[in-house]
């Protein structure tokens, strides 16, 4: 088990390095010059100033040399300084934003799991009945709706029209931070983030449960006179959860993408909003470090998902 975890962490590190190389190369090869971010249209730089800036940033070096210099800096624990945010250390910026993003994503996924699994069980058990159709229809809508559309429609309906939730931000300006205020601001974006995932989980759970309910051991349990509710809860649901756990793990990457949209619509001060601002402003140190941190989080979540298999299904031995 311990060896397996170490092996997975090692593989994760290799993937992170590959990811950082890819993002670094893409940023450098994208149209335009990184030094553009330093040019103020109202105060144009002279050619000498441009050259000096380029040399100071190491942008006059070949791309592989630039990458190695950046990696050396990162390994020393220095993620660099933001170009746009008063030269604040990137590590500090990320530390401030990881929490809100994890809170939003965690809440969204939790809601998605609770709704998706419950609805999936209900639909699976009542296959072909009104309740199944009634749950499947919104699930299809949820799966088909992109995060930005869901976010905007949700904002319009629940915040503008119904006034049930604030239209954005993480806390009410001027108020001392309270859990209640945080929950008021969190509820709508988390719910909207959960919709697509809940719908997907519901469909997987339904299909998996239907398959399990037709297995011999379920028939045996029924024939032994075990109560139907107990058959479903004890014998069917637990086994049906296995593919759903796989799904939850594999949708974490999509959840990050969804969180970026939700954060920008609701001005949620997380990694997604910071990443979008950094891309718009060509804040290369922030883009690189954010990608690395988000990638590390997704990889860590995937490892945890693998470990969760063993908990859900004792037949699986991790070694």
């Amino acid at each position: 088990m311990g060896l397996y975890i170490l092996r997975r962490i090692g593989m994760g590190c290799v993937m992170l390095v590959a990811l950082s190389m890819l993002v670094f190369a893409l940023l450098r090869l994208a149209p335009g010059d990184p030094v553009d971010a330093y040019i103020d249209p109202s105060a144009p730089m002279s050619p000498a100033e441009l050259a000096a800036t380029r040399a100071r940033l190491g942008l006059d070096q070949p791309i592989p040399v630039q990458y190695l210099a950046w990696m050396k800096q990162v390994l020393a624990g220095d993620l660099g300084y933001s170009l746009q945010r008063n030269h604040e250390p990137v590590a500090r910026l990320i530390a401030e934003r990881v929490g809100p993003t994890l809170l939003l994503m965690g809440s969204g996924l939790l809601v998605a799991i609770v709704i998706g699994v419950s609805a999936g069980i209900l639909a699976g058990v009542n296959r072909g009945r009104v309740i199944d159709v009634g749950l499947s229809l919104p699930a299809f809508v949820g799966i088909s709706s992109p995060a930005f559309l869901t976010a905007l429609v949700g904002l319009f309906v629940f915040s503008v029209n119904l006034g049930w939730a604030p239209s954005g931000g993480m806390r009410t300006p001027g108020l001392a931070p309270t859990t209640g205020d945080l929950l008021r601001h969190l509820a709508l974006p988390a719910l909207l983030l959960s919709i697509g995932h809940a719908a997907l989980i519901m469909r997987y759970m339904r299909a998996s449960l239907i398959e399990v309910l037709n297995q011999d051991y379920v028939r045996t349990a029924r024939s032994k006179g075990v109560r139907e509710r107990w058959v479903i809860v004890k014998h069917a649901v637990r086994n049906a959860l296995l593919p759903v756990v796989t799904l939850i793990g594999s949708t974490l990457g999509a959840a990050v993408g969804g969180a970026i949209f939700i954060e920008s619509v609701f001005n949620w001060p997380g990694m997604g909003l910071m990443l979008i601002n950094a891309v718009e402003n060509r804040d290369y140190p922030v883009i690189m470090a954010s990608t690395l941190v988000v990638g590390a989080c997704v990889l860590a979540a995937n490892i945890l998902t693998d470990l969760a298999y063993a908990v859900v299904d004792p037949r699986i031995k991790i070694a």
């Binding site: 149209p31 103020d40 144009p44 945010r85 030269h87 006034g163 300006p173 001027g174 920008s264 601002n277």
Partner: protein, 529 residues
């Protein structure tokens, strides 16, 4: 018994949680606060707190900082701010400002002429990150005969000086002089502990969320009527409009389409105003394509500006036949370049367009990426294709645009023509930096490398004019020169919109270029529950 106890505890916890959720809005109402998207839209500058590097965002900045002088609320005349009066010498080389004797910084120290000298010194020093350096080149010295008098001496008349001074927020020498000049631009002072003289004072910046200000009880214009101001940040104008509708904010810039959704709603007041920004096709002076004046004129004749204004601006724009559209700056008798594809074709034929370029694609570079502007470029592309000019719009981010047009060794093939905008008011001299031959980068912002002797000499004469009565006539000459030789294909000046909640009383908000500043009298703003 134990079960009952657990149930009660659970009920108590649930009740507390619900109460805290419900209590939040009630607590929020104990202070009178005006919230707004003050930095939303083209007049705003979210995340910038340094007024010396501000190219916009002056509506908000001027709630806690103040300039010496400011435009009135109609953006027509210069009004007092920290300077109560001023005199300009007949030769326009000496500007004497009398300062408000009772003006104080938020830390209680008096505002004096030493602060004026300090601020102008910083603003002229490129090392401070100031964007005002080029506009203050003519400032030779600032004399301080006494604490309430500042005398600005110029080396040459500069018709744009007063306009520049409306945007130059005064800074406290006693707070900033200890910070090295080259460390000032990105110093945390601006976003942690700034000190101004305005009606509101700094409380905090919640990163990417909002900025909070509190009433300055010692403000010389009277204690503000509300306890505080909040500047909410929004990623898009649509979400700001949603916050307006849900009642969370009381004022914001909105897009023209959003403005229509507020029209007729008694809970809101829609504010319409001039953008004071002329959009133009900047023909690259280095590109051989446009050397023949007839080609440039053909472009204007080929574009049906009235149709674009009607369909894509909803009528909320005015066609521009030179850099200006204000009646007093546009002389009579200039060519209107009314839509005429036949005339365009004839001019192109005369000029030998087939030999010059023919149907080869011509990149139209722009930093406008909003859907409306992208549609406008597509419309222009279709109209120009009708006469045989094959432009290909390329909308890029501002950094890429700047990198291309400000390149040390510019490559005209990367941007043979640009679609851009330049501020033309309230002070008409703003256009100088973008079209005067002497302003070709790195000296200034003439990124299209226009080398038009007629326009340059007309602008030089206008900037050096010392007789206020002749100023409008000088700018008419600029208009005439631009209209005659068409160094730019000037398109239109659009309207801009904002929405103010009717709960906010006496809130003066204008969709001013760069956010003003203008005499908004923020101390008089109030809000009803």
């Amino acid at each position: 018994m134990a079960g009952l106890h657990r149930t009660r505890l659970l009920a108590l916890a649930l009740g507390t949680a619900l109460a805290s959720l419900a209590a939040a809005p009630t607590f929020a109402q104990t202070k009178t606060v005006i919230s707004g998207g003050f930095d939303v839209g083209p007049g705003g500058f979210q995340g910038n707190f340094n007024p010396m590097s501000a190219s916009a965002g002056f509506t908000w900045l001027s709630t806690y900082y103040e300039p010496l002088i400011v435009y009135d609320a109609k953006l027509e005349k210069i009004a007092p701010a920290l300077a109560t009066s001023w005199q300009v010498s007949p030769d326009k080389l000496t500007y004497t400002f009398k300062l408000a004797a009772d003006a104080k910084w938020h830390d209680g120290k008096p505002f004096t002429s030493a602060d004026v000298k300090f601020t102008l010194g910083l603003a002229k020093d490129a090392k401070s990150g100031s964007v005002f350096g080029a506009r203050l080149n003519a400032v030779k010295d600032v004399e301080t005969p006494d604490a309430q008098t500042a005398v600005i001496k110029l080396s040459a008349p500069n018709a744009g000086l007063m306009d520049t001074l409306t945007k130059l927020m005064m800074l406290p020498a006693h707070q900033l002089s200890a910070i090295p000049v080259d460390a000032l631009a990105k110093h945390e002072w601006w976003s942690k502990t700034p000190v101004g003289t305005g009606p509101f004072k700094w409380v905090k910046y919640e990163t990417d969320q909002y900025v909070e200000l509190a009433a300055n009880a010692d403000y010389r214009g009277g204690k503000p009527k509300v306890d505080g101001l909040v500047n909410r940040y929004f990623k898009t104008t649509a979400t700001a409009a949603a916050a307006l509708k849900s009642g969370e904010i009381q004022v914001s810039y909105v897009e023209a389409d959003d403005a229509k959704t507020f029209a007729g709603n008694n809970a809101f007041r829609v504010v319409e105003g001039d953008s004071y920004v002329v959009n133009y096709l900047g023909f690259n002076g280095d590109a051989p394509l446009w050397k023949d004046e007839r080609v440039r004129k053909a472009v204007l004749y080929a574009i049906d500006r009235n149709a674009i204004i009607a369909s894509l601006f909803g009528g909320a724009a005015k066609p521009a036949n030179c850099g200006y559209v204000a009646d007093h700056l546009v002389p009579s008798g200039i060519e209107p370049y009314a839509y005429s594809p036949d005339k365009a074709k004839a001019l192109l034929k005369e000029a030998g367009w087939d030999q010059i370029n023919g149907a080869k694609p011509i990149t139209l570079l722009s930093y406008y990426t909003a859907p409306q502007q992208v549609n406008i470029m597509a419309a222009m592309q279709a109209m120009l294709a009708q006469v045989g000019i094959n432009i290909v719009p390329k909308a890029v981010d501002v950094a890429t645009y700047n990198g291309t047009v400000y390149a040390a060794t510019p490559d005209w093939t990367q941007y043979p023509v640009v679609y851009a905008g330049i501020q033309i008011g309230p002070d008409p001299s703003g256009i100088n930096v973008a079209i005067n031959e002497k302003q070709i980068p790195p000296a200034g912002g003439n990124v299209a490398r226009v080398r038009d002797a007629g326009v340059t000499s007309a602008l030089d004469a206008a900037l050096a004019e010392t007789d206020d009565n002749k100023l409008a006539s000088r700018y008419q000459d600029v208009c005439k020169a631009m209209n005659k030789s068409v160094p730019w294909g000037t398109m239109w000046v659009a309207k801009r919109y904002g929405v103010v909640s009717t709960k906010a009383k006496d809130l003066v908000w204008l969709p001013a270029p760069a956010g003003g500043p203008y005499d908004q009298k923020a101390q008089n703003w109030s809000v009803t529950p």
